[in-house]
Symmetry: C2
């Protein structure tokens, strides 16, 4: 039987592996680490990389916290009994310097209650400032590969959930080209054992570093203009809008007394807003916007 210590241990190791891979890929910046304690028990290791060769600001955070379920948590989790909780996970957002390098987000997490209820959740999604369809396809192919050995419908199901989750209703835009998103995975909701679900989550977590470092390699040598940097700042503004208005994890963290600086590490170093900005027809900015739609079959582009 998988226990929480084993899961926590895996996530901690995953943080180390990913941080090493990111430092090697960046070639300049090193992660600074803050160790912190949660008010009700446990804590985390917040790691931040800044002003690198490639990464302008990137966080790779691990946490494992526990305590009594608070009233705010009960509301959000829709449970009514008193219980203790334990939550652990790794959360990543990388904001690159070069607008031709995509932003990436990854999260894997595990949650359990003292009554025996547990679930896994997580996801990866890619947010290019400039859409490259081939790369979006390649990205989705990697996710499909990581999913397919664990469940034949996983990729299709979790890709659709990502389209619906990483979405800004007030802009009618997806955050980027999507990816996969899953939540509340447990043996109750699936035909898999806890250990099989954990294997899936492990594979997703371990897929992050090879996927993102490959995308860095493909794009980092591209030159960019002041205008392209300005477009990146506007796209980051949308990233801020998603994270602060719609992301349930961010809201949950801020409302339940999570560590603000760790939660908001997902925000870019700089974001801009321009009133009613509309890129020119035929521009690569416009083409990017046209790719920010739900339901695009990235594996089989026409």
């Amino acid at each position: 039987m998988i226990d929480r210590k084993e899961i926590e241990g895996f996530f901690k190791g995953l943080q180390d592996t990913i941080c090493s891979a990111m430092e090697i890929a960046d070639g300049k910046a090193k992660f600074q680490e803050d160790i912190w304690e949660h008010t009700t028990g446990g804590g985390g290791r917040t790691r931040l990389m800044q002003n690198g060769n490639i990464i302008e600001k990137g966080g790779v955070n691990f946490s494992a916290v526990e305590g009594k379920v608070s009233e705010d948590m009960k509301k959000t989790l829709k449970i009514d009994q008193d219980a203790d909780f334990f939550a652990t996970g790794v959360s990543i957002v990388q904001h690159p310097e070069n607008p031709h390098v995509p932003i990436i987000h990854m999260n894997v997490r595990y949650f359990e209650l003292s009554n025996g209820t547990y679930w896994f959740g997580g996801g990866i999604d890619l947010t290019p400032h400039y859409l490259d369809k081939k790369q979006a396809q390649w990205f989705h192919e990697q996710l499909k590969k990581a999913c397919d050995t664990h469940g034949i419908s996983f990729y299709a199901d979790y890709k659709e959930r990502a389209d619906n989750y990483f979405f800004l209703p007030h802009r009618d835009e997806t955050r980027g080209v999507g990816g996969i998103f899953f939540d509340h995975l447990s043996e109750k909701s699936m035909l898999l054992s806890k250990s099989q679900i954990f294997d899936f989550v492990k594979e997703i977590g371990e897929a992050f570093a090879p996927i993102y470092t490959h995308l860095l390699e493909l794009n980092v040598a591209k030159t960019y203009s002041k205008e392209e940097k300005a477009w990146q700042y506007l796209r980051r503004g949308r990233y801020v809008e998603f994270n602060l208005v719609w992301d349930r994890g961010t809201k949950f963290g801020l409302v339940t007394g999570g560590r603000t600086e760790s939660i908001l590490m997902s925000l870019p170093p700089q974001a801009n807003w321009a009133y009613d900005h509309k890129p020119e027809i035929g521009s690569s900015e416009k083409e990017t916007l046209e790719g920010l739609k739900k339901g695009i079959d990235w594996l089989n582009l026409a």
Copy 2:
């Protein structure tokens, strides 16, 4: 009896008056106007000033919209019957170029349902990037003057509400030095007639231009350093956090299909985030943070 046309007409005129005053004060930028229609009826006049002598980005928006109360609105307004609604108001946020000039926000609004229920709401609050206690005191004195002829407890009550409303729980910081905030004012909840409440709302609306143009005069000639501009960008990051995470008006607008570009005009042209930024003890940045607390009696500083 005051009817909605009269209130709408006043708000429209108020928008004109404030825009003129802001153009004169700025001396360079002119408002650009977008006229828009709401999907269910009515519409608005969105006005934006950019890259002025003083104002980097400033919105002065008027709207008057109507329609059937949607399911989302019912939830937010906590009503269960079907009804038509009408909502009109003026909303202002000004982001100045100079970090020694404060950000200001003002809103006056009126809402009514076809069952006869109505209420007024609104507020003004000031967000200095650098706290000037004398100016904060003067600002609160002006608000107290505007309140006092309408209700002896108005200033104290609405000042306290502003402290509680313009507050970032995840930062344990107020947005700025507060001001006044009021909502659901009607003859049902007060000892005043509708016309007397409207007089109060009018006085608050009319107080905006003289208050803010005076604050511009006091501060605009101050020089500032690159470091002070960097601090302004961080403070604007907090403004973004408040508006997107906590502001009920923003959320309500985005969820109920309001015009996104008008609602998010409150966001600054540029905002920055720095991980765990802590100003030096004794610095004016640190002193500013220490002034961002609830319950400060700005009228009677020690």
